[in-house]
């Protein structure tokens, strides 16, 4: 199961795809605090999904539960066909090679150069011939939109946006089928943030990578997200295209989008 690709799908048809992520009845509690309460969610191959929700609705926790960093209190998490919290270690190791994750502040290894950071997964996997390591690192940096000279720099010498790009380059190293990003545009200026959105859309459309983004950035939702999942009250409070979600009657969703409408109204009336 874990050996074969899930992304295989009829050419040109972007709507059909096998389920890549399946959450069934996921519950998370920290002491008495309930974060998720029987949450169900399916994400299919080739989708670009944005997960939104108010502070404390467990967006980042959900991401950590999907990638196997944090065990949910109850429920099953299947990623690329593998039950993350039941599978033996060998099967997990195979799955870990097939997804990439970008953490909020990059989580680059601060004692390694950017190029060495990207090299880590390539070398550790043992799949890449020695002669191809350096060119592949250069390709990943280019794919993430970094200039070639960034490779020799230490993470501490990079700007916030470049650090995030370097983190994406590392996450892309092993041709992931799924890419998880935690707040990729937070702390970035709007121009850099939009370039980031285009990068994500390109990864999804050109390379066929399934992209799951936790974000607060309305522009990301408007410009690239094919599907928006709203978390609220421990469950999925809204799910669908942006228009479908906006038409829902969840009070938080209404408030969330009305803040944007007001901002638009203010600028246009000036």
């Amino acid at each position: 199961m874990s050996g074969q690709a899930v992304t295989a799908r009829p050419a040109g048809d972007r709507s059909v795809g096998a389920p890549v992520i399946e959450l069934r009845g996921v519950s998370t509690r920290f002491g008495t605090q309930v974060v998720h309460d029987g949450l169900d969610l399916t994400i299919r191959a080739g989708e670009l999904v944005a997960i939104i929700g108010g502070s404390g609705t467990g967006k980042s926790v959900l991401l950590r539960e999907i990638v196997g960093l944090q065990r949910p209190t109850a429920g099953t998490v299947r990623l690329l066909g593998t039950d993350i919290w039941q599978a033996p270690e060998a099967e997990l190791a195979a799955v870990r090679r097939r997804f990439g994750m970008m953490f909020q502040d990059g989580a680059l290894f601060s004692s390694l150069t950017v190029a060495a950071n990207v090299e880590v997964p390539l070398r550790e996997s043992g799949l890449v011939p020695e002669s191809l390591v350096a060119p592949l690192v250069a390709l990943r940096l280019a794919q993430a939109g970094l200039p070639p000279d960034a490779g020799g720099k230490m993470p501490s010498q990079l700007s916030g946006g470049m650090r995030k790009r370097a983190a994406i380059a590392r996450a892309l190293a092993l041709e992931p089928e799924v890419l998880f990003l935690d707040e990729p545009t937070s702390g970035l200026d709007p121009i850099t943030a939009r370039a980031f959105d285009r990068l994500l859309a390109g990864l999804c459309e050109d390379l066929g990578i399934t992209v799951v983004v936790v974000t607060h950035d309305l522009d990301t939702l408007l410009s690239v997200a094919q599907r928006v999942v709203v978390l609220g009250a421990g469950r999925v409070a809204g799910d669908g295209t942006l228009a479908e979600v906006m038409a829902g009657d969840d009070p938080w969703i209404r408030e969330y989008f009305s803040s944007r409408k007001m901002a638009d109204a203010n600028t246009s009336s000036r």
């Binding site: 690709a5 601060s110 004692s111 191809l132 794919q143």
Partner: protein, 388 residues
């Protein structure tokens, strides 16, 4: 569609070159994936090597009709092979029968890899250059310590002029960490050293029937030399390292920047309380060390050398001049200043990354211990000259 005769077939059937009237055709088949890079490398090697440069040289067309998968890593490998072995420009080749998805990936990689500069490897330097760089680094570090010490002195003067600026609460917190929680380990270590020292002295003194002089030796040695040295070493390892790690982490988290932006001085909020706590605590710890060391010696003297505790104390009265105890206690704040300045300076300097914090923490301990021993030797020489 033309029917060419297969010229070369690679063992894994991933690629083969066919001769055709309009030029060579490279037929790709199977899954071109990162997981199979080694296999594909071999297949491409066979493709070219079998017929020499001939078949690979005249490539015009790539046929991808039989491709099951193509990812960017294998596309990069193919592009490099095309450029290097086949001498073809991947962007200029005709793609035939490609899945649109595969074609997009190939085009993208062909374009992206065209002007790709590989990250240059680190430059290596010769032994002499490394020695020079190390010497320069050491010099810069010592000058840095000195200027940091100057900053601490000038900040102290400022606090002396306006004593309300002293962070009493922080000072007390630090003093309790540096002093009170260090008492058990200091007492244990000095008691054991006093015990061992008295025992070894006793073995020698017994041969001359001069058991009682063990008290003279232990009293002088512990109070004047051992206790200050041992306590300073323990504190360098406990508190010096803690200062460097704490301050380094605070700098990494931009907490020190937050302090500056709030209009506070990091020297007054963070550095002075730490150094002052150390300077005040070390004499107290040395006194604890004196007492524990002598107690350890008295214990072994009682059991092994037939010197009862009351005899021990009476002899202590006669033999131990107060000046030795005072000299030991005077050294302590000087050692404390050294350990505190090195710890704080190492925490507040260098790059903001985890490796620097680790390296600086280790370096603090080494520097502080070496510095304490050098200072102790200086004390010995100076006090000798002064006749003390």
């Amino acid at each position: 569609m033309f029917q060419g005769s297969p010229a070369l077939v690679s063992p894994s059937q991933s690629c083969l070159i066919e001769e055709a009237p309009q030029g060579g055709v490279l037929r790709l088949s199977g899954a071109w994936r990162l997981a199979r890079l080694h296999e594909l490398d071999e297949a491409l090697g066979h493709c070219a090597a079998g017929g020499g440069p001939g078949p690979a040289a005249g490539l015009r067309v790539i046929d991808g009709a039989a491709l099951a998968a193509l990812d960017t890593a294998s596309a990069l490998q193919l592009c490099r092979w095309l450029r290097g072995v086949a001498g073809a420009d991947p962007g200029a080749l005709v793609l035939q029968g490609f899945d649109p998805h595969h074609e997009r990936i190939f085009r993208q990689v062909a374009e992206a890899s065209a002007g790709l500069a590989e990250v240059p490897a680190d430059r290596r330097y010769g032994a002499l250059a490394q020695l020079g760089a190390a010497a320069q680094e050491l010099g810069a570090m010592l000058v840095g310590h000195l200027s940091f010490f100057g900053m601490v002195v000038s900040e102290s003067v400022r606090v002396l002029r306006a004593p309300q600026r002293l962070r009493v609460r922080e000072l007390v917190t630090q003093a309790s960490r540096v002093c009170i929680s260090a008492v058990p380990v200091v007492a244990l270590v000095t008691a054991l050293i006093g015990l061992v020292f008295a025992y070894l002295l006793g073995l020698q003194a017994e041969q001359f029937g001069a058991n009682i002089f063990v008290v003279d030796g232990v009293a002088l040695g512990m109070t004047r030399e051992f206790s200050p040295l041992i306590v300073a070493t323990i504190v360098a390892g406990r508190s010096g390292a803690a200062f460097a790690a704490q301050l380094g982490t605070m700098r990494l988290n931009e907490e020190t920047d937050a302090i500056s932006v709030l209009g506070l001085s990091t020297a007054q909020v963070l550095i002075l309380p730490r150094i002052l706590a150390l300077v005040l605590s070390l004499p107290l710890l040395v006194f604890v060390g004196d007492v524990a060391g002598l107690a350890g010696a008295a214990l072994i003297a009682d059991t092994m050398l037939d010197i009862t505790p009351s005899t021990f104390i009476a002899r202590l009265h006669d033999a131990l001049a107060l000046k030795h105890v005072v000299i030991g206690l005077v050294k302590a704040p000087v050692f404390a200043l050294l350990v505190g300045v090195i710890g704080c300076r190492m925490g507040m300097s260098g790059d903001r990354d985890t490796r620097t914090i680790g390296a600086h923490t280790t370096s603090t301990v080494v520097q502080a211990i070496v510095g304490v021993i050098v200072l102790d030797a200086l004390f010995a020489v100076v006090l000798q000259e002064l006749g003390l």
